[in-house]
């Protein structure tokens, strides 16, 4: 590695002004539920941090969390940014050096594997491992083989040298969909497949929200420690409150069926199966796709996708929970 650029230099070369940069830092501080004063701390940290190597592993996945990552359109105050400004996605692709990501990388075959191994070797203890998808353990792991190696062996190899591992999405957290009953492939999340891993952060969701991924990384780069988390290893800034407690519909009349007058008027969806009261996530505040919308706002109940084993514990989806 030569000539390491700091993040601010990288952004400056993109024509991103310091004002815009501060806007992003402020947005991230807000997402992290930090006081406004944290904006300067984050900015100071990012401005002097070299691009961080990332090895992004995909196992038993649907690539939905990668797609979510690519939709990180979160913009700051419209007074500062315009539609022509780079969104968080391209900023992220600039501030992170994504050395391995099968969906996005140009290299293939053994050259792709070389990229992964080179990054592990050259950046030991300095890279972030992101895991998407569950890790099968049945059949000696031969339900997911990449370059002739099992998912489990690759996960062990990559996470052992990482400064931080992020299990991104429900599947990487607790096995998710593949682990739903009867779990035909013995699918596990990172915490169970690679037990005892230090510096593991779980960002569940189906998919998980990219804003929470970026905020977690920025927090770590700034404060050199993991954000405070609950007993499931989920950061409190994103998973500290129920969806219902933040929902604009919570005090309203309850719709009785989809398309009735209360539903059309934006009523509460509890009777239609909404899992908001038992689900912890920041969907109502961060929203999706650049703050455009989120499922309850669009008219369908929350499916509780950040709950443990949600495919088994939150189904059937259309029955009332509380």
């Amino acid at each position: 590695m030569k000539n390491e650029q700091t993040i601010l230099q990288e952004l400056a070369s993109r024509g991103v002004s310091r004002r815009q940069f501060m806007g992003y830092c402020g947005m991230l501080a807000a997402a992290l539920a930090l006081p406004v004063s944290a904006t300067d701390v984050i900015a100071q940290s990012l401005a002097t941090t070299a691009r961080v190597p990332v090895i992004w592993l995909e196992f038993q996945d649907c690539t939905g969390d990668t797609e979510s990552f690519l939709r990180a359109t979160q913009r700051t105050d419209p007074a500062i940014t315009t539609a022509q400004d780079p969104s968080l996605t391209s900023l992220v692709l600039d501030v992170l050096s994504i050395d391995y990501h099968e969906t996005l990388m140009s290299a293939a075959g053994f050259q792709a594997e070389k990229s992964r191994l080179d990054s592990i070797t050259n950046n030991r203890g300095k890279y972030i491992a992101v895991v998407e998808g569950s890790i099968p353990t049945a059949l000696n792991g031969y339900c997911c083989v990449i370059g002739g190696k099992t998912a489990l062996s690759i996960a062990q190899e990559v996470t052992s040298g990482a400064m931080m591992t992020i299990a991104f999405g429900a599947c990487a957290w607790d096995g998710g969909l593949a682990a739903a009953s009867p779990n035909p492939t013995g699918a596990k999340g990172v915490k169970d497949a690679v037990p005892g891993l230090a510096n593991l952060v779980n960002i569940p969701g189906c998919p998980a929200n990219a804003v929470n991924l970026v905020a977690t990384i920025v927090y770590y780069l700034t404060y050199k420690k993991l954000p405070a988390a609950d007993s499931y290893g989920r950061p409190n800034f994103a998973y500290g409150r129920t969806v219902h407690s933040q929902c604009p519909r919570r005090e309203r009349d309850e719709a009785q069926y989809f398309g009735d007058s209360i539903h059309r008027a934006g009523g509460c969806l509890k009777e239609l199966g909404c899992r908001g009261p038992v689900t912890h996530n920041n969907c109502p505040t961060v929203k999706w796709n650049g703050g455009t919308c989120w499922p309850v706002e669009a008219g369908h109940g929350c499916i509780g996708c950040t709950n443990p084993s949600f495919w088994d514990t939150q189904t059937p989806f259309y029955g009332r929970t509380v």
């Binding site: 000539n3 650029q5 690539t63 939905g64 391209s90 050096s97 996005l104 593949a178 699918a187 059309r264």
Partner: protein
């Protein structure tokens, strides 16, 4: 599957010298006269360097040099894929496609509420996110005899149409372009000449010299940083790259622009379905987004106006960036219009219903079958009863032997993993070599996807598709046969993107009209309550995913899913050989493709990527009937 001690017994037969071909002789014509391609046709001119040792000493899997070339992982696709090819005299002589991952989703669906199935099925794939949800609700609606309201039809068309446009643009720029565009060559481009090139092919706004200078500077900074990230270890400088530096810089600029564009355009999904990926708005019987002209919380004229802005933004990008870039790049790679074609059998389920009748004749994108590249005859009708799946070369076993095919209603998937048990170098000597089954229509391998849809629409006399096909071929000065090739597949994807992007506004018109007429229904609730269901029912649902024909099948018993099967695009295209040893469509399309440097198999990527593989879709199959076997198997482990 196990020895007397209850341990797993496998048959490791790893071929390390690349010489073993097992029983994978070249496919013979099946009894139903599968048109096999002459493997010696159309290797285009190009360097035919003898296989050389891997120049970069790598601690990891060194590809076997000599006859067999392995690409694993195949990247810039959804999911996990391994391709092995044999090479002689600078061209591919045989190929094996392996899906190395599975999850067992259909087994997970057994016993669930059929109204929940779409949420599970949607997670088959997060890239073509939405299409499995549509296929699933259609399947359950078919089983229960439900007709959806017109608003639900329109909302589904809008979400799916946006998915096509979004997905195809991402595929072109982010998954496929780097097979044709040499990033490092762009560093040598003259920004002024790039500007001249850009304005000569398009009226797109971002075309000034300073704009391209900015992109070039950004690229230079990136490269000089030494942290190449996603672009490290690419096949840069490969002799098969042929674009002038300015075209490379133009394409790199649009790679970056498309990254921003896709973020904005897909807000259509968020506005209609709460989020992307995995919009959360489907219902058996309709859709969950309320429609009401007098409510701020519903889809109303204000929101439709916002959607129009996004739809127009999509159409502008497709017409002013995607299609001109496609034509520019294609003009330098016309030799790829004579290779990579494959069988020339095409299956389209068709989609975008124009009414709620469920009549296949009323699909905007027509349903049908074209055999042996014959665009002159009316497409054959599709009969789902003629679909069968084979497991002769897949890691499953069928009761009654592996040579018979099974219809999805009767599908079974007993896992029979015979693959190697340690890190391995080749699979092409194995009898069974993939987690994908081999679907066949009337015993024929079928290509599905944009080229299949365009071929069927063309043969069916679809006016707009015909105009676009003829116009694109004329601009490239190519004949109709050029469609049946690697390049033709890329062109077909662009052609249908234009047609669908145009069509979006008509669906918005229809939605607006319904709101105006106070037609606000979004769900048929007459069969929502399981008490109204028959004790037993069967149903199937068809849709088109961006990657091709998608079908789901369900058997509902006493209100629960008894059996659920999905036969998906990449299983059609990426299947292994079948009981007659006929290649899958990818395997067939690779035969005859040239290869300049087996240590950098760029040409394989070009042809495989032209199909836009989606492996998570392709491999998720475990049959409920095999539950018993699976349990034994897992306990043994």
């Amino acid at each position: 599957m196990s020895d007397n001690n209850g341990n797993q017994v496998f048959i490791p037969s790893v071929q390390t010298d690349g010489s073993g071909v097992g029983d994978h002789a070249r496919p013979t014509a099946s009894p139903t006269a599968v048109p096999t391609k002459n493997p010696t046709t159309s290797p285009t001119a190009g360097p035919t360097a003898a296989p050389t040792k891997n120049p970069t000493a790598s601690p990891t899997a060194i590809p076997p040099v000599g006859p067999t070339v392995v690409i694993d992982p195949v990247t810039r696709i959804e999911g996990h894929l391994r391709i092995e090819v044999k090479v002689a005299n600078g061209a591919i002589t045989d190929a094996w496609s392996t899906g190395p991952m599975f999850r067992g989703l259909e087994l997970i669906l057994k016993g669930r509420d059929p109204r929940d199935a779409w949420v599970f099925a949607q997670r088959i794939c997060g890239v073509c996110t939405t299409v499995h949800a549509i296929a699933s609700v259609r399947t359950v609606e078919n089983a229960l005899g439900i007709t959806i309201p017109d608003n639900a039809r329109i909302l589904r068309n809008l979400i799916e149409g946006a998915q096509f446009v979004h997905d195809h643009v991402i595929h072109f720029y982010h998954l496929h372009a780097l097979d044709w565009v040499d990033l490092t060559s762009a560093l040598n481009a003259d920004p002024a000449k790039t500007s001249a090139l850009a304005t000569s092919i398009s009226t797109w706004k971002n075309s000034s010299t300073s704009y391209f200078q900015g992109v070039k500077t950004r690229l230079q900074n990136f490269v000089s940083s030494g942290q190449l990230g996603l672009f490290g270890n690419g096949y840069w400088g490969h002799p098969a790259y042929r674009l002038p530096a300015e075209a490379n810089l133009l394409a790199v600029a649009h790679y970056l622009e498309a990254l921003e564009w896709q973020n904005q355009y897909i807000q259509i999904h968020a506005r209609l379905g709460g989020k992307n990926p995995h919009p959360q708005t489907y219902l058996v019987g309709g859709m969950a987004s309320p429609v009401d002209g007098s409510s701020a919380a519903a889809i109303n004229p204000t929101r439709i106006a916002e959607l129009r802005t996004l739809v127009q933004m999509g159409l502008d990008f497709v017409n002013q960036v995607y299609l001109p870039d496609l034509l520019l790049i294609a003009s330098y790679y016309k030799d790829w219009a004579t290779t990579g074609g494959g069988y020339g059998n095409f299956l389209s389920f068709g989609d975008f219903p124009t009414d709620t009748s469920n009549n296949p004749a009323n699909l905007w994108m027509p349903r049908g079958i074209v055999i042996n590249k014959n665009l002159g005859a009316k497409p054959q009708a599709v009969d789902h009863n003629l679909i069968q799946e084979y497991v002769s070369h897949s890691w499953y076993a069928y009761s009654g032997g592996d040579t018979a095919g099974k219809h999805p209603y009767k599908g079974e998937t007993t896992v029979n993993y015979t693959g190697p048990q340690k890190s391995f170098t080749t699979l092409s000597g194995e009898t069974k070599y993939s987690w994908l089954k081999a679907p066949r229509y009337n015993n024929l391998p079928m290509e599905v996807g944009p080229l299949a849809r365009v071929a069927v629409a063309y043969a069916n006399g679809h006016v707009r598709i015909r105009q676009l096909v003829d116009s694109v071929l004329a601009k490239l000065n190519l004949g109709p046969d050029a469609l049946f090739s690697t390049l033709g597949r890329i062109a077909a994807r662009g052609i249908e993107t234009v047609a669908i992007a145009e069509q979006m506004s008509s669906w918005l018109d229809q939605l607006q009209n319904n709101i105006k007429n106070n037609n606000l229904a979004i769900q048929d609730r007459s069969h929502w309550d399981p008490q109204t269901w028959p004790a037993e029912s069967w149903g199937y649902g068809m849709t088109e995913a961006p990657r091709g024909a998608l079908g789901h099948w369900v058997h509902i018993l006493n209100g629960k899913i008894e059996n659920y099967q999905a036969v998906v695009p990449t299983t059609w295209n990426g299947s292994p050989r079948d009981a007659q040893n006929a290649h899958g469509p990818w395997e067939q399309a690779l035969v005859g493709v040239p290869m300049a440097d087996p240590t950098r198999p760029l040409e394989v990527l070009r042809t495989i990527h032209s199909f836009d593989p989606c492996m998570a879709c392709a491999v998720h199959i475990v049959d409920p009937e095999s539950n018993e076997v699976m349990k034994v198997w897992i306990e043994n482990y």
